[in-house]
């Protein structure tokens, strides 16, 4: 069962309010990723967990937080949403740490900030 689930599928948030997105996977993958995807742009890696080790990209370090309470779940937290956070957020998992393992994506969480 190659399943990655994301909740919510759609999120409407007010500027300055927090946002919490949830991802779960049933494949016992050791690595989970969060990407931000805006129209006509490449997916942008925000952060990833290898097991319990969190790696955050330098340019998004202060904007996004995450937790992974167990192997199956991973969250993405925005403390104070701005208009620029409006995007599709894609969660993915893989069984290889590194860069040649197949990524399994969820359906995405579309965030609209007003």
């Amino acid at each position: 069962d190659t399943t990655v689930k994301q909740n919510p599928r759609y999120k409407l948030a007010r500027v300055g309010k927090p946002v919490n997105l949830i991802c779960s996977q049933t494949m016992n993958h050791d690595t989970m990723y969060w990407y931000q995807k805006k129209p006509n742009q490449a997916p942008k890696l925000l952060l990833f967990y290898y097991d319990k080790i969190l790696n955050r990209e330098a340019d998004t370090f202060e904007k996004f937080q995450s937790s992974r309470p167990n192997n199956s779940f991973c969250s993405l937290y925005i403390g104070s949403a701005g208009l620029e956070y409006s995007a599709m957020y894609l969660c993915a998992s893989s069984s290889f740490w590194g860069n040649t393992g197949q990524l399994y994506f969820g359906e995405g969480s579309k965030l609209t900030v007003l």
Binding site: Q41, N99, Q102
Partner: protein, 110 residues
Amino acid sequence: QQQVRQSPQSLTVWEGGTTVLTCSYEDSTFNYFPWYQQFPGEGPALLISILSVSDKKEDGRFTTFFNKREKKLSLHIIDSQPGDSATYFCAANSNYQLIWGSGTKLIIKP
């Protein structure tokens, strides 16, 4: 420079025709190039991939070509079908992550 350029941004092809999508890159250390296919309402899914030691990989109607000298790769879809309508992303490996192209939205018209 770690960037992957993908073209065209959108493409319409008649059913039965051949679709060609292209990507280029600069970093010669890239050695793994996957293509992901994304249907509306779904997440991207791995379609086909190629390592830099190969110049061609085929999977049914889908073939990816890799040109190391020109730092280019392409995806060819023969006998394109309306069900192939999707957004296609190329990517390349770099250290611990994939570097993604911006995607091509493909429409196959019956």
